[in-house]
Point group: C3
Chain length 210, copies 3
C-alpha cells in the first residue's frame, strides 16, 4: 500500500513532465520564445489539477507551498527548448504512450482526491477526467488548436472510464486494487484507440441549421 502510494506520487511527477513536454513542443511549433514555451508547458502540466483543486475548495493550491510540479514543468520546458534541434524530425511516438500513461494516472489520482474531499461519486468521476484532460484543453485553446475534446478521438472517454472504474470498485478492496483497475481500464482503452484508430462510435450529426 505504502509502496504503491509512493509509486503513484512519482508517476504523477512523470505525468506532469509528459504534459509539460507536450505543451512545450506545441509552444515551440508556434514559434514562442522561452518564456512563452515555459508558460504553456506549465499550464498544460498543472492546469487540470489546479482547476480541480479550486473547485474542490482546496486553496491555496498545493504547488503554492511545494512547487515541485511547477519546477518540473519549467525545467522540462527549458530542456525541450534547448534540445529542440535534436528533436527535429523525430516521430516521438513514445510521447503518445507516455501521455496515455499520464492521462490514465491523473484520471485515477484526480478521482481519488475528489472522493477524499467529499465529492459526490458522479462528480469524482468527472474530476478525474478533468485532472487528466483540462491541462491539454487549456494548452490547445491558448495555442489556437482544436482541443482533443472537440475531435472524435477517444481520449476524454478513456479518462472517464479510468476514473469510473476506480470509483465503482468497492472501497473494501483497498486503494491499491482500485487504483490498478482504474489505471488499467483507462490505459487499455486509450491504447486501443491509438493502435486500432478507434473513434467515438457516434454517427455524424445533422447540422440543425443547414
Amino acid at each position: 500500500m505504502h509502496l504503491l502510494a509512493d509509486l503513484l506520487v512519482w508517476f504523477a511527477y512523470v505525468g506532469t513532465a509528459v504534459f509539460a513536454i507536450s505543451g512545450a513542443l506545441l509552444g515551440l511549433r508556434k514559434e514562442m520564445d522561452i518564456i512563452g514555451v515555459s508558460f504553456v508547458a506549465t499550464l498544460t502540466g498543472i492546469g487540470g489539477g489546479t482547476i480541480r483543486d479550486l473547485l474542490l475548495g482546496d486553496a491555496p493550491v498545493g504547488w503554492v507551498r511545494e512547487p515541485i510540479e511547477l519546477i518540473i514543468c519549467v525545467v522540462f520546458a527549458v530542456a525541450v527548448s534547448f534540445f529542440n534541434k535534436a528533436l527535429v524530425g523525430r516521430r516521438m511516438t513514445w510521447l503518445l504512450y507516455a501521455d496515455a500513461i499520464g492521462m490514465a494516472l491523473f484520471a485515477v489520482l484526480g478521482a481519488a482526491k475528489a472522493e477524499t474531499l467529499g465529492a459526490h461519486p458522479f462528480v469524482a468521476v468527472l474530476f478525474g477526467a478533468m485532472s487528466a484532460t483540462f491541462g491539454g484543453i487549456i494548452r490547445d485553446i491558448i495555442c489556437n488548436e482544436t482541443p482533443v475534446i472537440f475531435q472524435k478521438e477517444i481520449y476524454v472517454s478513456a479518462a472517464l472510464l479510468g476514473a469510473f472504474v476506480f470509483i465503482a470498485t468497492p472501497a473494501t478492496l483497498g486503494f491499491e486494487v482500485r487504483a490498478l483497475l482504474g489505471l488499467g481500464a483507462g490505459l487499455v482503452l486509450r491504447l486501443c484507440a491509438i493502435w486500432f484508430d478507434w473513434r467515438m462510435p457516434f454517427p455524424r450529426y445533422a447540422d440543425p441549421r443547414s
Copy 2:
C-alpha cells in the same frame, strides 16, 4: 415566501437546462462527439454560477456535493444529441424565450447570492449579470464564436438591469417583491430587444488606429 423560494429553485433548474441545451446545440453544430457536446453543455449550464461562487469564496462549489445541476446538463446534452435529427430545420424560437427567462432568473438569483455572502451592492449587480451571462460567454469562446457581449445585442444589459432592480428595491419589501421586480425588469428589456430588434444605443466608435 417559501413557495416563491421553492419555485425559484425549480426555475433555476429550468434555466440551467435551457443554457445546457443552447450549449449542446452549438456543440452539435461544431460536429463534436457526445463527450464534447456534454462538456460544452455543462460549461454553459453551470459556468456562470461556478465562477461567481469561486470569486465569492464559496468553495467547494455547490455541485461538488449535490450535482443536480451537473446531471441536468449531462442529461439534456445526451437527449439533444439523440434527438438531434428531429430538431433539424426547426426554428426553435421557443429556445430564445426560454433563454430570456433563464437569463433574467439567473441575474436575480446571482445578485441575491452575492448580497447574502456580503458583497458590495455594486458588485452584487455585476455578479448577477455574471451568473446570467458567463456560461454563454465561455461557450462562445470555447466554440470560437463571437460572444454576445461583443455584439451590440441587448443581453448583458438586460441581465444588469434585472440584477440592479433587485438590489435597488428596498429589502423591507421582502425577497418576493424584489425578485419579481428584478425578474420582470430583466425579462421585459430582453423581450423588447428580441421583438423590436433593440440595439445598444451607442454610436459606432471611430477606430483610434485607422
Copy 3:
C-alpha cells in the same frame, strides 16, 4: 515606510486604471458596445490580481467587498468610450510608459502579497509576473489578439525580473528598499526593450514537424 505603502496603494490604482484603459482601447478597436468595452477593461484591470488571489486561497477576492478597483475600471472604460473621438489619431506613447510603470508595480505588489500569504519564493516570483501580465493575456485571448507572452517581446521577462529582485533582496533591508529595487529593475528592463527594441535573445527554433 508608511508613506511608501500609501504611495504604492495609489500607484496600484494608477496601474489598474492604465490596464483598464488599454483594455477599453482594444475593445473599442473591436467595435464593441459600452458593455463589452467595460467588460474587457475590467478583466484587464483586475484579472491578474484576481487569479493570483484565487490560487493563493484569498477568496472572497478583495474587490467583492471594496470594489474600488472595479469602479476605477468601469469609470475609465466609460470615459475612454466617450472621449474616443478625441483620441483618434493620437499616438498615445504615454500609454506605453504608463503601462510599463503599472507592470513593474504589479510585479512587486503581486510578489509581496504571495510572500505574505506564505508562498514559496519561486512561486512568489511567478505570482508577481502573473499579477503584472495575466490581465493583458486575458484581454488578448478574449479579443482574439496574439498575447504578448507569445511574441518575442520583453514584457513578461521584465515582470519576472522585477519580482525576482524584490524577492531576492534580503528582508532585513526593509520593504521600502526591496520594493524600490524591484520596481527599478523591472521598469529599466522594460524601458530598454521599448527604446532600443530589445527582443528575447533566443534563436528561432526549428519546427519539429517541418
